[in-house]
Structure formats: C-alpha cells, structure tokens
Symmetry: C2
Subunit: 409 residues, 2 copies
C-alpha cells in the first residue's frame, strides 16, 4: 500500500481523487499496490465528499507525515506551489504535478533536487493534458536526435480559431463562446496572449534538447490581433491559422516561439480542431511523429496525473528518466533569425506593387475579397525578420498591418 496526498482540490485535483476511487481495483492491479489517498490540502472545505475526513489546511500535515510517499500538486501557479513541491522533495517524497508554470519556470531546479534525492518528479499532465507526450518524446529521444518540436498546445485558442475559420465568427464572439463553454477564464489573457502555450513549449524544448528553456526566452505572441480578414487571407493561400508553439534546434542553441502561424491545409495539424491539441516531434531516424488528443479537461488531465502516480509507485526505489540541465541566457537565440516565408499585409496603394517586389524579391501577391481596399497582401520567400524589416523600410508608403509566418511543416 502506498499513501499519497493531493495538494489543491480544484478541477484536476478533484478529478484525481475521483478516478482514484472509480478505477481503484484497476489502478491497484496496474501499480502492483493499493494506492490510498491519505491527505488533501485545500483551504476550502468539502464536507459532503466521501473523503471529507482527509482534508487539511496545513501543509505540514503532508510534509511532516513520513507515511506519505508521493505528493500530487494540482494547485497551479508558482506561489506557494514551488515552495511546497520543493519542501516535499527535500522531505524525501516523490512528486507529480500538472502545473505547467511551475515546471516551465523551475523544472531544472526541481529535477536536480529529485535526482540528488533519488526521487521522481513527473509532470506528464503539464503538456497536452491527457495526451501521453512527454514519456513518448523521451522514448523517441532514446535513439533519435530530435531537431524540432511543433505543437498546437492551447485548446482554448484552438477552439476560438476553429470557430473563426469554420463559422466565420469574429474574434470577440468566439471568445465569449469559449468563456460560456468554460474553456476560457473570465480573464482570458493566459490563453489568448500565448502564455499557456509558452510554458508548454518551454517544457517540450527542455526535454527534447536536454537544457532548460525559460518562458522569458520564448518569443511569445497571442491571437488577440487576428481578425476574420487574416483567416480569409490564410485560406486564400491554402492554409489555416493556428496558434503554434515551436522549438527548433539550432546547432548548440535553441530557438523557440509561440505565434499564430499558417498551416497548409494538407498537413495533419490543420485538422486539429476545437479544444484538441497535437504535438509533432521531428527526429532524424523516426521522421515526423504526432501525438493528438484532448489538451485539457478534468478527467483527461487527471488520468495523466494518475499514470504518473502509478509510474512512481512502480519506481519508488529507482529513478525514472526525464531530466534536463539548467539553462543559460545565451542558450536560446532569437526565433526571428530563423528564415521563413511570411504572409504580409501592408497598407499601401496598388501602385506600390513594383516597389514591394523590388524590395522583397520573389513575392506572390494574394487576391482576396476580405482584404481592405487600401491594403496589399503577399507571401514572401524565406527570410529572417531582420531581412523583412529592412525590406519594409525600403518601401516608402507601405505601412505594415500584420505578418503571419508560414509554419512550413
């Protein structure tokens, strides 16, 4: 019998408790031992739950209880999750977390403590909700050099973009619908400004390339400015707009970004609709592999947490794989240095076409009913952001409105 504690009885934490009861026999068979929920840390009270007697408001009831071997952290945020998780590891307890902010900011430090203590620190649920992706990625890594990880990592924005693309729904209306369905928070910033996806690409990049990438090292742009005009322009060039998280190995360095990009319609990722997520891993031997599923939700996420708990129960005396080293300021280099084809909208008269072609070289102008009369739109050949800025500067009377990178998968 292994005793566990859950810190934070919100959506995911309560899902963990629920699944642990519902599938108890099945889980015990898988883990080879009974798993008992010993304590739940939450400031709130839930007197009607069958495990109401397990609740505590005191963290010390968990950290100081030597019979608790595994702690699940589903509180979210850095404070106090970081202090609590660190204290649990230092107290000799293995930890499972679904907290992407914690892993993206502090993963290297917590992994180092776990390693030193011979404990496990697992966080499969922090990326892609219920989709098994970190462990398979680790498995891909065993015999592959991974060159790139690209994903649709945020379900809320993907739902909104799907509504914009398929129903012609304006951004604001799509946001309201996402809020109504419970996909978006009242303050939707973490989703629509790309922060959530940024944390996830940090975790993926850190694992894929073995060194920590911190959120501040990721160029992050959300979908707040995307309009139906952009959506229609993307369609006119044979693609759809997706909020993409991308990490590319670049010699000894890495370049990461989160931004709305255009995925061509023939590519599998263009068909990842609604709240689904997908992560593409490119390896030298394996080629492209994609993992797809629900990126969020109570039970999918809770099932990923429990899979980690079961794994830790089976490895109580042996360290598991998943590890990376500390990052460094000069490890990540600007994503804008990676050349790509871009879809550009500029406010300019039609007679500027020749000037634009002269400045940009090989470009294709896009015709589209949705484009305002006073704008031109075109797709460039592969260029860096710097080259693009220089070309734009060279044309007087062409004011940039939007630039969208082609995902080139």
């Amino acid at each position: 019998m292994v005793k566990i504690a859950v810190m934070g009885h919100g959506v995911v934490g309560s899902g963990v408790a629920e699944l642990l009861q519902k599938n108890a026999a099945h889980i015990a068979a898988k883990a080879g031992e009974e798993i008992v929920l010993e304590r739940v840390l939450d400031l709130r009270e839930f007197p009607d739950l069958p495990y109401a007697d397990k609740f505590t408001k005191r963290f010390a009831d968990i950290s100081d209880d030597p019979t608790i071997q595994i702690v699940v952290e589903t509180m979210g945020g850095l404070t106090p999750a970081y202090d609590y998780v660190k204290a649990c590891l230092l107290a000799g307890k293995s930890v499972v977390t679904s907290n992407k902010e914690l892993v993206a900011q502090k993963g290297d430090e917590l992994l180092a403590i776990a390693k030193e203590k011979g404990l496990n620190f697992l966080f499969e649920a922090s990326v892609g909700g219920g989709i098994p992706v970190l462990r398979p990625l680790d498995q891909c890594l065993a015999a592959n050099e991974v060159s790139e990880v690209t994903g649709i990592l945020n379900g809320t924005t993907n739902f909104m973009l799907t509504r914009m693309i398929e129903d012609g729904m304006p951004f604001e209306e799509a946001l309201l619908l996402a809020q109504k369905r419970g996909y978006a928070e009242r303050d939707p910033s973490a989703d629509i400004d790309g922060l959530d996806a940024c944390r996830k690409i940090c975790i993926l990049a850190s694992l894929a390339f073995g060194r920590h990438v911190y959120p501040a090292q990721v160029r992050t742009e959300g979908i707040r400015e995307i309009t139906l005009t952009d959506v229609r322009l993307a369609a006119a060039v044979g693609g759809v707009i997706k909020l993409i998280g991308k990490a590319v190995k670049n010699g000894e360095h890495v370049s990461c970004a989160v931004a709305p990009m255009i995925v061509r319609k023939e590519h599998l990722l263009s068909d990842v609709r609604d709240v689904f997520n997908a992560i593409l891993v490119r390896g030298d031997a394996i080629g492209d592999v994609v993992f797809y599923g629900r990126g969020a939700g109570k039970l999918p996420t809770a099932s990923a947490v429990l899979a980690d708990v079961i794994d830790e129960v089976k490895h109580l005396k042996a360290r598991k794989y998943l590890c990376w080293s500390a990052g460094a300021p000069d490890y990540a280099i600007d994503f804008g240095l990676l050349p790509a084809r871009m879809l550009l909208r500029v406010r300019a008269d039609a007679d500027k076409k020749a000037d634009l072609a002269a400045a940009f070289g090989n470009i294709e102008f896009v015709t589209c009913d949705a484009l305002p009369q006073d704008e031109l739109a075109f797709v460039t050949s592969a260029m860096t952001e710097k080259e693009l800025d220089a070309a734009l500067k060279a044309v007087s009377g062409a004011e940039p409105v939007r630039r969208l990178r082609l995902a080139e998968l």
Copy 2:
C-alpha cells in the same frame, strides 16, 4: 557495458546496427551504459561492413554466450524466430523484437516465459514502425478503461488507397507503383489481404484489453476488391476508404476486424495519407488519443527497436510492464455482431428502391456518376451483418456487389 546480439541482418536489423554506431554516444548517455554489438546472426555474409567480424551462422554462438544479455530479433516469420526467441528467454536473455507475426501468434507464451524468468520481452516496433504506441497505450491504460482501438496499421495499402482517392489511379496501377517504390513485396498478399494489419490489431487488442487475441480470431478482409467506383461512392457520402483495424471491448469479450471502412472526411484519420499510420485509442477518462507517424521503414523501425533495447538496459534487473494473459476460443466474438451503418452496392433495377426501403427501413440512396447503370447504392442505418443479410434476402432481384462499413469514429 551491455553486450547485445542481433538475429537477422535484413532491413530492420541492419538499421539497428547502423543507428547503434551513428548515435553511439547519445545512446550510451540515454541508457547509462555503453551498448556493444557483440554478434549478428545471418546466413549471408557481409565482408565489407565495419562489424563483419561479428557475424555468425550459428545460433548457439548467441544462445550459449553468457555475456550477451539482450537479443534483438529482426528475422521475421515464425520459423525459426519463435524457437530462437524462446531459447534466448530460457537462457536468461531479455529480447526485443520487431516481428509482428511472432508477437501476434505467440506473444502470451513468450511474455509468460519472460515474466517467470524475470526478463523483459519488448516489441514496440511490431506495431506502427517508429511510432511510440505500445508504451503510451500502456500508459493510457494505467488510469483509463480503454473501450476501443482503431488504426490505419498498414502503410502499403494506405499508400495505394491514397493514390486511388487523390489521383483516381486504378487498384492494379497503385499496386505496381507501391511495388516500384519498394513499399509492397512482389507477393503483396500480406499487405493487401490484410494479414499484416491483422497481426498488428491482435497485438494492440491483446495489450489494450489484457488477454491474447490470435490472428484466427480476427475477421480479416483486404482491399483487393476495392475499385475506383467504391472510392467515388465513399466520396459521395463524405468519406474516404481506409483499411481499418479495429478492436472493441464488448463486455467480457472482444471483437476485432480488419476491413476497408469509410472514414468521414472531418475525422483526423481521413487525413492519414501515403505510407503513414495512425492509431486511435479511446479511454473512459482520456477520450480519444491518436498516435501518428511512419509505420514502416528502416530507420524509424530500427529507432523503435533501439528504444526498447535502451529500456531493457535500464531495466536489466527489473521487469517492465507490458503483459497479457493467454486467450481463449470464446474470448473473441464475431465482429459482425457489432451494428454499424453500411454503404451497400446492389445490382438491381431502379424500381427496387421501394422494396429495399421496405426491407432495410431507414436508408439513404446515394447518387454518383461512377455507379454502374444497373446498380443501386445506399447507406443503411446501424445494423448487424445478420440483419443486413436477412434484409438483403427479403428483396428479390437485388444482388449484393459490395458492402463497406462506416467507421463511425
């Protein structure tokens, strides 16, 4: 340092040797130990290879060498692979295989020997080539009750169907092209008659539901009879024809089939093109999860084999998960008992429409230029094969030409 042997220096076996050399440092870092290729069993000679001195024609050089701890079997077929693998396990060596026929026929027995001996028997490469799917499936299983596994499991037939669908290429021509590209054997039967997919769905079903399903228990139908008319009819009902392997939990039983089925165009699986494979796993907590990638090929498959080898090196003293019990004749029940909507083609006069509607109940006739003048095509409501046969019998003058199940994902 861990010494391994490779049995069978064909496409996959030579890929394993190649990757082991190319990514040696990386692999050693991952495994925590150097992995040394000690012996290669093959009846042929390869004097120009850097590891030419490792070759032997005598199996005993491997089985009787106590310094070899892990054996990779990439010979294919049941004879002598089955005897050799069994002998290796009995001699205390862990085994990795890419041999789907071996696992589909003898997996339960070999897993039982491995368990008894405290050894590992892993076979990630036997399904989906380089796609990590068995281990993630095992992980999904930890906290989920899986109800269904559905996959595009054979790259050759998927390539051929893609050519038929996208280029309007007739079956025979698509087969020739597949052979020319090296995707199909000179005798293409194992692919186009569904045997290869059958073995893979056996392995997936055995793992997902915990009891062995043998190939003879899978209703298996290939794509040999599929014509461009069928392809166009499928398009007319909003779908594409894919060779689908499906295993469905049915109370205490399981129902498995391999057959060409119609996947609606909105579903992700409809976009799995060319030689790619995809496997969908449906769990009670996780919902639908899909794993996608190259289902075959030298390096993808070899990389999956090596990931297993690395895992075994890390678990030389501990048993790994993956296990299932022996099957039974009454465990699998006929797939035809699962009701589904069907696309039916019958040779009948147009005036039989009323009779067909009377016999089948709620049906939708399909209009399509490609349909021969003397035929009718329609989609039924969900019904079992028995109900369908009975309804067909009730209509005189309607001769069945083709039935295609809708995959209903």
